[in-house]
């Protein structure tokens, strides 16, 4: 096997086995997402909203989970190594910063796929939900996965300096982005006009608009979707590299444990 591929897969192996052996991480995949799903969908059905709103909530939850798991797994892999005082050893091994990021993101992708399958099965069984347009759905989810990876790169960059604090921030950022991106509502209706141009430049807004458009409730801008996704990814990559090199130069990497 190619050395780089082996190092990437090492992170997948680690992530999968950590989940298998850790109750908290199992609940993160098999319990919490289901509780959140039903908390929102029960509320919407209680309000007697039409089916489009219910479907928007379900699609929004799916997209948000996809983004969340990629970002969280990237930061968790880093933080767990820090907590177990193995981070210094990890960085002294031949794994590169991008192999670490890609490997842990793939591990997060596996978890995201598990949760999406659970969501699809449960919502079909309870609400008769089926994906309205698989093409739009897959493209929307793919862009949100990319947004999760972008966020993960930012958080790892912060982590080289802030250590476990990056872990705390990594819980806040996806929720902030979800709020600003209007996952469960229309951004035009809720936010003031002056804020909309900023919100539209977030890497997640257009992807959620795309998902919502499949039930007639979103208005995606495809050019902005691509430009923001690629643009933010490039910025995150450069930021991560800059912070890594700075940490290596200033001795922060050597003091990570």
């Amino acid at each position: 096997m190619n050395g780089s591929l082996s190092r990437i897969l090492s992170q997948v192996y680690r992530g999968v086995n950590m989940m298998r052996r850790n109750t908290f991480r199992l609940t993160d995949v098999f319990v919490w997402p289901i509780l959140y799903l039903f908390t929102l969908t029960f509320f919407v059905t209680y309000l007697g909203s039409n089916q489009s709103y219910l479907y928007m909530i379900i699609l929004g939850m799916m997209g948000w989970r996809a983004m969340y798991f990629i970002n969280l797994e990237m930061v968790t892999a880093f933080t767990e190594e820090y907590w177990s005082k193995s981070l210094g050893y990890l960085f002294a091994s031949p794994i590169s910063r991008m192999e670490l990021a890609i490997g842990s993101a793939i591990s997060g992708l596996l978890k995201a796929i598990i949760v999406l399958i659970i969501y699809l099965v449960l919502t079909y069984a309870i609400y008769g939900f089926t994906v309205p347009n698989w093409g739009i759905f897959l493209v929307g989810v793919a862009f949100l996965l990319l947004a999760g990876f972008t966020m993960g790169l930012f958080m790892l960059g912060v982590g080289y300096f802030m250590k476990q604090e990056a872990f705390n921030i990594s819980f806040i950022i996806p929720d902030m982005l979800a709020l600003l991106s209007g996952v469960y509502f229309s951004i035009e209706v809720v936010y003031p006009k002056w804020l909309l141009p900023v919100i539209r430049l977030l890497p997640t807004t257009q992807a959620f608009e795309l998902l919502k458009s499949s039930v007639g409730l979103g208005n995606p801008d495809y050019t902005l979707l691509i430009v923001t996704a690629v643009g933010w990814l490039a910025v995150a990559y450069a930021f991560n590299g800059y912070m890594y090199n700075k940490a290596k130069k200033e001795g922060k990497l050597a003091r990570l444990g």
Binding site: S6, N17, K85, S86, A92, S93, P94, G251
Partner: protein, 313 residues
């Protein structure tokens, strides 16, 4: 080229608030292939900075560090593939079993036939029966052996051992030292840091004393002793101490002092005086119980170096 490690004019400073801390101050050293090289110095002497540069997680401000011909900054991944690290302060991922964790680490180094390699190492370190335990379940001695297993996964040409016996009981420390000697016998180059002077003297082919970022001296343990000791002390246990002291009095380069009844300490400035001392002993009538050369311990040598040449800034 016989050097496993070659550091030339390596310097590193850190910023600590408004202060600049010199971690390495124009350091140069080389470690030969297949030797155990000790890096000794107090905490904050610069050992960790030097090791961090060698393992590719810290860039020097100036100078170069080369391992087996590869530059630690420019060819980091190639350097990292050729070495491994065992630290007494390292942690282990608690949730994974010993075997799973080693499989994970083997993937980091792209180890071929990793299953076989792991089984062999676990057997070699007497951990095979505990392979399904998590690292949290291991005793400190077993954990250290597990770290050594991890350090040997890629059959490294250079093994960096950072206080490998810290916190271990006597039996486990003896085991670890035996493993280190075996590794040298198999041709591994070993860079060892330790605060245990007995261990350093026993294991190391050569030693560098380091303090305040400077190398104070490099040599074999015997050479280092020779550099700091200009005199030898011989303890004579006999029944005619006064006579012996009197006979040696006035002899050039020799000082005799009665330390206690029946004990004379004789300080000489060279090995050539031994015959004179024996002659003096023979000329006195009485019993000679023992004659011993009082060698300073390596700890005393270390302290002398630190205090004389770099202990005070």
């Amino acid at each position: 080229m016989d050097d496993a490690i070659s550091v030339r004019n390596g310097s590193k400073t850190y910023r600590s608030g408004k202060e600049t801390v010199i971690a390495l101050d124009d350091i140069s050293l080389s470690v030969k292939k297949g030797e155990i090289f000790g890096l000794l110095g107090p905490n904050g002497a610069g050992k960790t900075s030097l090791i961090s540069i060698l393992v590719g997680i810290l860039n020097p401000d100036s100078g170069s560090a080369v391992i087996f011909g590869k530059d630690c900054v420019e060819e980091t991944q190639a350097v990292q593939s050729s070495l491994n690290l065992v630290s007494g302060f390292s942690g282990a991922i608690g949730s994974l079993s010993v075997e799973e964790a080693l499989t994970y680490y083997a993937m980091l180094y792209n180890v071929k036939d990793s299953k076989k390699v792991i089984a062999r190492l676990l057997k070699q370190m007497n951990l095979y029966e505990s392979r399904n335990w998590t690292a949290e379940d291991l005793s400190s001695g077993m954990r250290q052996r597990y770290f050594i297993c991890r350090g040997l996964l890629n059959d490294p040409k250079l093994l960096v051992l950072d206080e490998p016996t810290v916190g271990l009981d006597v039996e486990s420390a003896i085991d670890v030292r035996k493993i280190i000697r075996d590794l040298r016998a198999k041709g591994h180059t070993i860079l060892l840091t330790t605060h245990n002077m007995f261990e350093a003297e026993e294991l190391c082919d050569r030693i560098a004393f380091i303090n305040h970022g400077k190398i104070l001296a490099i040599g074999t343990p015997e050479e280092l002793k020779g550099k700091i000791i200009s005199q030898r002390t011989i303890e004579i246990h006999c029944s005619m101490e006064k006579c012996v002291a009197e006979q040696l009095k006035g002899m050039k380069g020799v000082k005799a002092q009665i330390k206690s009844p029946q004990i004379v300490h004789v300080t000489v400035d060279s090995y050539t005086k031994t015959k004179d001392i024996m002659r003096a002993l023979a000329s006195c009538n009485g019993e000679i119980y023992s004659v011993n050369e009082m060698e300073p311990t390596f700890e005393e040598i270390y302290l002398k170096f630190m205090n004389n040449k770099g202990g005070k800034k």
